[in-house]
């Protein structure tokens, strides 16, 4: 069988980016949560806030380390596998990614050390400032990387001359038409991710009756956040969808599984899209609802996939189902927010076993939602790398062979599998250690230990408590 460097490169990029994405989406929200805990600690003087903060900083340290290591690979992927794309867009992509390095990585590097190791060396206010700067750094980082990504969906502010893009307006290019929606959608997703992980881990502590006073506060905060953020996210997602309808109608057609442009289009709850025959099997639908959601008119016209030739359509099955998984996760999250509110009467949310167990499982839901959301938007752009301007095939490295791409794909899978199974194993031991270990008295030898993010966590890699 002929190895296809294009397909292998796409699989490799998808693998690396999905693996990478789960770390920052958690740390962006968690950094802000830690900053809030530090602020509450400084304002109220209640030592419980600091107990919580010390534990979650340890979790942050591990996840942040994993994110940095997996992120280095990303920056080289553009050049190794997509050199035509990189070269063509370098006048925009280069400065934007460089700005991410110098504005975000600098802030994070400078203040992470103080956040992790400086609690006893600097005044509490400076420590809080460090926490806020780390949180700010994570946001600046996502600002630049989402500007670069959004441009690939809704290019603006550029002109193409002799195969190279030139920036005409930096403002239009960075704040391109889909950027604001994407940034908000991701920011709220990060907060939701942190909220659900905090809620899930804390629920587990509460079921074990560990550090109840502090953990009750953490659970209460995260449930309030979920109650507000989950419906907000649904709303932002709706606006983002309308923006996509305007700029990338074929992506929306694939999300809806709508093959033919028409009015009064039904919403499909279930279907098996069949791209070969350009139709769906086993449809379960609600009449006219898709038209209403997308046009706010029961008989509004919704574009269908028949507006382009089959080879210009995105892979419908993947986009259709990834979208449904994302929406289902979003609805579940909103339901848990409401359940949390309902159970607040008489503090039942601290007692209800099914609810606490549900929260433990739900700590995985934001990761599933985020990954499927990215699959919707990235796969939905296919076959375009830059929407309606450059295809995946045009962006590929010309000298790349299938064998080379397969070699590095297997290589990255093996390296990541080894490194990250060790990382997850270690994270679990931090969870097992809980607030108790995180707040244990430090021995002399700990003071001398390597000043490194993961070394900030007081647990032993060989497992056990």
């Amino acid at each position: 069988m002929e190895l296809d460097p294009l397909l292998l490169s796409r699989i490799q990029f998808a693998f690396v980016v999905c693996f990478h994405a789960i770390f920052p989406v958690f740390t962006i929200g968690l950094a802000s949560f830690i900053a809030v805990l530090e602020a509450l600690s400084l304002k109220t003087g209640n030592p419980l806030w600091q107990r919580l903060s010390k534990f979650w900083i340890q979790v942050f340290a591990v996840v942040f380390g994993m994110g940095v290591v997996s992120g280095i690979v990303m920056s080289f992927q553009f050049g190794t596998n997509w050199s035509n794309f990189s070269y063509s867009t370098a006048n925009f992509l280069g400065p934007v990614l460089s700005y991410e390095v110098i504005t975000a990585f600098f802030l994070e590097a400078a203040f992470l050390g103080v956040l992790l190791f400086g609690r006893d060396k600097v005044p509490q206010g400076v420590h809080l400032f460090a926490a806020m700067m780390v949180a700010l750094g994570t946001f600046i980082s996502s600002f630049w990387i989402l500007a670069a990504n959004s441009l690939m969906h809704t290019p603006d502010g550029l002109v193409l001359r002799d195969g190279l893009y030139y920036v005409v307006s930096w403002r239009d290019a960075i704040f391109n038409p889909s950027f604001g929606y994407r940034f908000l959608h991701m920011a709220v997703a990060s907060f939701l991710t942190a909220s659900f992980v905090v809620a899930g881990v804390t629920a587990w502590f509460i079921m074990q009756k560990r550090e109840l006073a502090a953990n009750k506060k953490a659970l209460s905060i995260s449930l309030w956040l979920i109650l507000i953020l989950a419906p907000t996210q649904v709303l932002i997602g709706d606006f983002h969808g309308l923006n996509t309808l305007k700029h990338q109608p074929m992506k929306v057609a694939a999300m809806e599984g709508n093959w033919e442009t028409g009015t009064g289009v039904p919403l499909l709850l279930f279907a098996l899209p069949d791209q070969e025959n350009q139709q769906n099997h086993f449809e379960i639908k609600i009449p006219k609802l898709a038209s209403f959601i997308l046009t706010h008119d029961w008989d509004g016209e919704v574009p269908g996939l028949n507006e382009v030739t089959p080879e210009m359509q995105p892979p419908v099955f993947i986009v259709f189902w990834a979208f449904r998984v994302m929406v289902a996760m979003g609805m579940l999250m909103a339901l848990f927010g409401l359940a949390g509110l309902w159970l607040r009467r008489g503090d039942r949310y601290l007692e209800s076993k099914p609810f606490l167990n549900g929260l433990r499982v739900m700590s995985l839901s934001p990761f599933i939602a985020v990954l499927s959301g990215w699959i919707v938007t990235e796969t939905g752009r296919a076959p375009w790398l830059i929407y309606e301007q450059m295809t995946h095939a045009q962006g590929l490295t010309p000298s790349l062979t299938g064998g080379m791409a397969l070699f590095t794909l297997i290589g990255y899978v093996l390296v990541y599998a080894m490194v990250f199974s060790a990382g997850v194993f270690y994270l679990m031991s931090v969870f097992r250690g809980g607030l108790e270990t995180a707040n244990a008295e430090q021995t002399d030898s700990d003071v001398e230990k390597a000043q490194r993010p993961i070394s900030a966590a007081n647990a032993n890699l060989d497992g056990g408590l």
Partner: protein, 332 residues
């Protein structure tokens, strides 16, 4: 198009500076990994790792900065070097990942510590070798057509690049051993003194081989160095003087000078290399100006760099100040 400033020269300076910073700073901590298997005992390994643990990830930030800066200022380098060095880049990244996590995990692991020792040593060696091979590949030049790499996946792997790869391994080890002279005391320091002399011989040997070999790899280099006396000859002479300084200061058991002189050796060798290839950035066909991005892109990025780089330098100086002085025993 006539512009008020030639930003290309400024950017060449910034990128050249970033690469030099990276080589010097990550060089001595990669050197710890290369020396690791030869260390006298496990306790010494603890000290070696602790001596670079607080600063190594800041050092690697220069690599990220150089990479992103290249895409921003000289995108042709990015889009030719990376496809041409595809396999080598993968090996370097894998090496850096393994040694990076070894810093995190080694001190946590007891029964599995030997795995992370090997990860640290192996990762450092592979990453260094790959970087040295990149330098060799740059001297060799790249097969391009109309700004696109058209060579094969292993064009970069030749006897010449193997020598430059091994040469950089020896060079980083020398940076590492002179760093240890400065940062340690007692038995480990005495070991570092002995190793430094042996490494110096090795480095000079590779230095000689590459100096003789390079003009045969690239006729332009031959032309530049051997047609009439040129002012650039003072660069290798200064490098040799630095080598002498390393020798004499080690003999006198001085602590700081060996490291400083090694940095000088690297600096003058690096400048000599640049003098050989100037103004070609993607040899043999493309100069700095061919490889540059658009004027407005270089300007947009320069404004940010000028504002932020002083802060970065300040932070680095500050963190080295915090961790100044001798590194004493590790912990168990």
């Amino acid at each position: 198009m006539e512009q008020p400033f030639d930003l290309v020269i400024i950017w060449a300076g910034i990128i050249g500076f970033s690469v030099m910073m990276y080589v010097l700073m990550d060089g001595f901590d990669l050197g710890q990994g290369i020396l690791y298997p030869f260390a006298p005992d496990d306790h010494s390994r603890d000290i070696m790792m602790n001596s670079v643990a607080p600063v190594w990830d800041g050092n690697e930030t220069w690599l990220v900065m150089g990479g992103a800066g290249l895409l921003g200022a000289f995108p042709l380098v990015y889009s030719v070097f990376l496809p041409a060095l595809y396999i080598g880049v993968f090996l370097m990244l894998a090496g850096l990942i393994f040694r990076g996590v070894a810093f995190e995990f080694r001190f946590k692991a007891n029964t599995t510590r030997y795995i992370w020792d090997w990860a640290f040593a192996g990762g450092s060696f592979v990453a260094t070798f790959a970087q040295g091979a990149v330098v060799g590949a740059y001297v060799q030049g790249f097969a391009t057509n109309n700004f696109v790499y058209v060579g094969g996946p292993f064009d970069w792997l030749t006897p010449f690049t193997v020598i430059t790869g091994l040469g950089l391994v020896a060079g980083y080890a020398l940076l590492g051993s002179t760093w240890l002279i400065m940062k340690t005391e007692g038995e480990l320091q005495q070991w570092a003194y002995r190793v430094t002399l042996r490494l110096l011989v090795l480095v000079l040997l590779v230095f000689a081989i590459i100096s003789i070999y390079t003009p045969f790899v690239d006729a332009g280099v031959m032309e530049r160095w051997f047609h009439g006396f040129s002012v650039i000859w003072f660069l290798p002479l200064l490098a040799l003087y630095c080598a002498y300084l390393i020798y004499s200061s080690v003999k006198k058991q001085q602590e700081g000078l060996p490291f400083v002189a090694t940095m000088g050796l690297f600096l003058f060798t690096y400048l000599g290399l640049l003098a050989s290839k100037w103004p070609y950035l993607v040899p043999p066909d493309y100069t700095l100006w061919d490889a540059a991005s658009a004027y407005e892109s270089q300007l947009f990025l320069l404004l940010g760099f000028l504002f932020v780089i002083p802060f970065v330098l300040g932070y680095i100086a500050w963190s080295y100040w915090i961790f100044r002085g001798k590194v004493k025993g590790g912990y168990h």
